[in-house]
């Protein structure tokens, strides 16, 4: 959930490490820190964002450096808890991404043996463990310390008196970049591309020792060869241009993203559809917005293809699910979501075929799953998922379309991009004003629009910090009705279809309890404008376009409400883009 970056070579390390961390900032931005080494270690760490305070540390000397940008798991985000962490002697520095599950026990034992801790983090135990094992050889010390750790980690260790970086991974991502008389390590490929195309993906249990001229990788104390792979993609230009926020920019990229994803999934090999079609059921695991895309996938495949589908949250999957045989689809934008990865690994162990739907080429999930479907959203910088959700929607629609006998769905998909264009320009000012004053907002829908309502509520709460709940419209009266008041606007998704008449009666019930209603419906609807306080008319050509259009309207609603409230839209408090801890 944090990002780590290391450099060893012939150039000044500090600037390179800071540059690398900036590219990893989406993984966390509570605090950051770097350690560089010439004859001695030089440490600089700060709470806050690297993009705000990073330039101040670029002057540190040395051609070896490790750095970290943090999303707090243990200990509040402050200067003290920022990485790198040091041992008692101050000569060993560690940066770490992951969670050491037995850290409390380790810490007790280490304290008993006389070690002094200066932070609340789980990471610091690693520094002290390495210190205990250190007898002149850093690599040996790290290798000896690793078996004592339980949990997940990707670590980089540097020490005074040793011209090497030691890197190790277990259930957290770590990639090595191979340069010319220089090496890089990072949590993902993005910051490496600035320097080299040649990368080595470490595997769980690997420990790598890097010097400016060579590297060795060991696994269970045996030297192993990991292939050097050529990364053939460019960092797409992630400039914000004139948009106020990346989120706004990304919302506006959605027509193209939808079109590109449909086209690329359509060209995916038929084996994938055969795999899904021949089965009696499908299971989908995902978290957050991807989970909502999974729910939509369930409705679509069940409706259009008649195959039963289950959707599980990645974080709950491992506690309840009995062994399966059906194919398991993992949906994760980053490809690094820890819970989804764990679920896919379990499924694989049971012998299920596994399929990943992800946006990031070469990410961990693509190495686990048997097959990968890429969404073509391009890099998403804003923490709130918008275009990546749209791309997932496009992907699941196209999968449903190719599984279905009826080819009308596929034909309809070709026109959805222009419908999204429309949704980008429909005025929603009144709805924004109403929501800005709210303490709490309900989003309701039925059928296909239930997951859309969930996603709308998620967007609202994560960036505007207004309490928002998505409900299946029929469920509202089983409890939440008690919360309705004139201060709790309800966003009701009443698009045409068989759910429309019941939605209208639900809305009337809500109106009767005095809650203002923002009705999202279709042009030409006579009834909805009469009962809703604010009516947002859309003109979708068909049902699937309706899902995309309503999703866009709800994203824009959340965006403009958050903007009006002065929230930090691209980097909401307490959140990180991809959650690589369970």
């Amino acid at each position: 959930m944090c990002g780590i970056f290391g450099y060893i070579g012939r150039r000044k390390a500090a600037g390179i490490v800071i540059g690398g961390l900036k590219r990893l900032e989406y993984r966390g931005y509570d605090s950051f820190g770097i350690a560089t080494k010439n004859d001695t270690l030089h440490i600089s760490k700060k709470s806050g964002r690297i993009s705000d305070g990073g330039s101040g540390t670029a002057g540190l000397p040395g051609t070896i450096g490790i750095g970290h940008t943090r999303w707090a798991t243990h200990g509040i985000p402050n200067d003290l808890n920022a990485h790198p962490h040091l041992d008692c002697t101050g000569k060993i520095a560690v940066v770490h991404n992951g969670i050491i599950e037995n850290y409390a026990e380790l810490r007790r034992n280490l304290t008993a043996r006389g070690h002094t801790f200066s932070s609340d983090t789980d990471t610091e135990v690693i520094a002290h463990l390495v210190e205990e094992q250190y007898a002149g050889d850093l690599a040996a010390a790290v290798r000896a310390a690793l078996p004592l750790l339980e949990g997940s980690y990707a670590i980089l260790v540097a020490a005074e008196g040793d011209d090497r970086i030691v890197a190790a991974r277990m259930a957290s991502p770590l990639v090595i970049g191979v340069g010319d008389r220089e090496f890089f390590c990072a949590s993902d490929v993005t910051p490496l591309i600035d320097h080299t195309r040649r990368v080595i993906y470490l595997e769980d249990g690997d420990c790598a020792v890097l010097s400016p001229s060579e590297y060795t990788i060991t696994h269970d104390d045996r030297t192993v060869l990991r292939p050097v792979e050529e990364v053939d993609w460019d960092i797409q230009d992630a400039r914000k241009g004139g948009f106020a926020h990346y989120m706004e920019k990304e919302i506006f990229e959605q027509p193209q993203v939808f079109y590109n994803t449909v086209q690329s999934v359509r060209e995916a090999p038929d084996t994938l559809t055969h795999l899904l079609m021949s089965r009696t059921g499908i299971l989908i695991v995902a978290c957050g917005s991807s989970y909502h895309a999974g729910l939509l996938c369930k409705y679509l495949i069940e409706t259009y293809c008649g195959i039963p589908v289950r959707v599980e949250m990645g974080s709950e999957f491992k506690y309840y699910t009995p062994p399966l045989h059906d194919p398991v689809i993992g949906i994760t934008q980053s490809g690094e979501t820890a819970d989804t990865l764990t679920a896919l690994k379990m499924a694989k162990a049971w012998g299920c075929p596994t399929i990943a739907i992800t946006n990031v080429v070469g990410s961990s999930v693509t190495r686990i799953a048997d097959a990968t479907i890429y969404t073509r959203a391009g890099p998403e910088i804003s923490v709130a998922a918008t275009k990546s959700f749209m791309a997932q929607l496009a992907a699941v629609l196209q999968i449903a379309g190719s599984l279905s006998d009826d080819c009308t769905l596929e034909e309809e998909l070709d026109r959805v991009n222009i419908m999204i264009e429309d949704a980008l320009t429909i005025p929603i000012d009144d709805a924004v004003v109403l929501c800005t004053q709210a303490q709490s907002i309900f989003f309701i829908g039925r059928g296909l629009y239930y997951p859309v309502a969930l996603e709308g509520a998620l967007k609202m709460k994560e960036i505007s910090y207004i309490h928002a709940e998505g409900y299946a419209a029929g469920e509202l009266k089983h409890g939440p009705f008690a919360l309705l008041s004139p201060d709790t606007p309800v966003v009701a998704l009443a698009m045409p279809g068989k759910t429309y008449p019941v939605m209208i009666s639900n809305i009337k019930e809500i109106k009767a309890r005095g809650a203002p209603v923002i009705g999202i419906g279709t042009v030409g609807d006579r009834e909805l404008p009469e009962i809703a306080d604010i009516f947002i008319p859309l003109s979708p050509l068909h049902e699937v376009a309706g899902i995309a259009m309503v999703s866009v309207i709800l994203q824009r609603l959340a965006y403009h409400v958050a903007d009006a409230l002065g929230c930090d839209i691209d980097k909401p408090r307490n959140l990180a883009k991809s959650v690589t801890v369970e």
Binding site: R10, R11, D180, H195, R197
Partner: protein, 404 residues
């Protein structure tokens, strides 16, 4: 003074003007006389006393690394640095900071320059800049000289003040790195070498060496001109098998494993690579270079053309004044025209080639059906598929399909 032994070679560019020939290789790896352009330059520099090269690579870097390795095959030492974003010459130079120990050469990798002139540049008073006289100064950065001192540099302009142009070869001291750093990013967001040079010029310090053997290779038709130049010194060397009844005239090089079958007629200067099969009854005319593992079959005529490795031109074909990529296959009877009926200068994609006779530029892995006609001045992208009996003219992007 210590002799100059280190050279930075700029080899990071894609070479968009070379279009389909750079789909699968960077510009500096395009072969001239069956060896990459860059190898000619490295060999010449080695002869001039350079022992250590720093190649600044970027686009298609893997191909460069694989071919040259650590340089031991060429008897030199080669290091690489990567320039990821094409932010100008000075930025490329910056990426090599810390890798040179004394005065050093810096050269563009996409030109032809003889070893004598490289040596002369090494012996100049540092800093120095190589210049060349041209008929078309409007296409280049122009250098204004006063004797052997540079007094001004001008960007490309329609109305150049001099016929001397910047040839893209320099002699620098490591002090240049500080100067570039001191100048910082320009408003274009680039490190401008020109700015650093202007400092030297204002101090009256920049000397100029006028070159005579220099040639830059910018467009595909420059490849033909380069061959016309490089093939003049060719010496006859026949390593392959020549069947009885084949005629080999003049300076012809035939590689190992190549068979020239009976009835073929080959006029030098002309080079044919390894493991080719030529003929029977092929006619290969002067100034032609054929790469390794090519097949030039029965009743095929090839004139003043460059054909890269692995291309098959097997039956009843005519290829004139053309550059053909690697791995192509010509269907029986497919021909390339090379002369306009009005005898006008041939254009490719609206750009004048300066040649009355020019055929086509054809990328890698292009497949032609039988009896296709390729009109003069065509440019066909890599991976194109051309249906039988097609008439092809104009510019085709990579992977275009001409269907039935």
């Amino acid at each position: 003074m210590e002799p100059v032994t280190e050279c930075i070679l700029l080899a990071a560019g894609e070479g968009k003007r070379m279009r389909s020939l750079t789909t699968n290789r960077p510009k500096v790896m395009i072969p001239l006389v069956n060896r990459p352009m860059l190898e000619h330059l490295i060999s010449a520099a080695k002869e001039a006393g350079i022992r250590r090269f720093i190649l600044v690579v970027g686009y298609g870097e893997q191909a460069v690394r694989e071919y040259f390795g650590d340089g031991s095959a060429l008897g030199v030492e080669i290091d690489y640095v990567v320039q990821r974003h094409q932010l100008g010459t000075a930025d490329a130079l910056r990426s090599a900071e810390g890798l040179v120990s004394g005065n050093f050469l810096m050269m563009n990798g996409d030109m032809i320059l003889g070893s004598d002139e490289i040596r002369a540049l090494c012996e100049m008073q540092v800093p120095a800049l190589a210049v060349s006289e041209t008929e078309h100064p409007e296409d280049y950065g122009v250098v204004v000289l006063d004797g052997d001192r540079v007094v001004n540099l001008e960007e490309k302009s329609k109305d150049p003040k001099s016929r001397m142009i910047n040839a893209g070869a320099y002699l620098f001291t490591p002090e240049i790195f500080e100067r570039i750093e001191a100048i910082g990013l320009s408003r274009r967001g680039e490190y401008e070498l020109t700015d650093a040079l202007m400092d030297y010029i204002n101090e009256g310090m920049l000397s100029a060496l006028t070159l005579h053997t220099w040639m830059d290779v910018g467009y595909p038709w420059d490849i033909l001109a380069a061959h016309e130049l490089l093939l003049t010194d060719l010496e006859r060397d026949i390593a392959g098998t020549v069947e009885e009844g084949a005629v080999i005239k003049g300076a012809v090089v035939i590689g190992e494993g190549t068979t020239i079958r009976s009835g073929s007629y080959i006029e030098g200067p002309c080079i044919i690579g390894k493991d080719c099969v030529v003929g029977p009854h092929a006619y290969i005319r002067p100034k032609t270079a054929i790469g390794d593992s090519c097949h030039i079959g029965h009743a095929v005529e090839i004139k003043n053309s460059v054909i890269l490795h692995g291309t098959k031109i097997p039956h009843f074909n005519y290829i004139g004044d053309s550059v053909i990529g690697s791995g192509c296959n010509f269907g029986a009877g497919t021909k390339i025209a090379n002369l306009r009926h009005d005898y006008g200068i041939v254009q490719v994609g609206g750009i004048m080639t300066g040649r009355k006779k020019f055929g086509a530029v054809i990328g890698d892995d292009v497949l032609f059906g039988i009896n296709c006609s390729v009109n003069t001045g065509s440019s066909i992208g890599s991976g194109c598929r051309i249906a039988p009996h097609s008439f092809v003219e104009g510019v085709y992007d990579d992977e275009t399909i001409v269907s039935r």
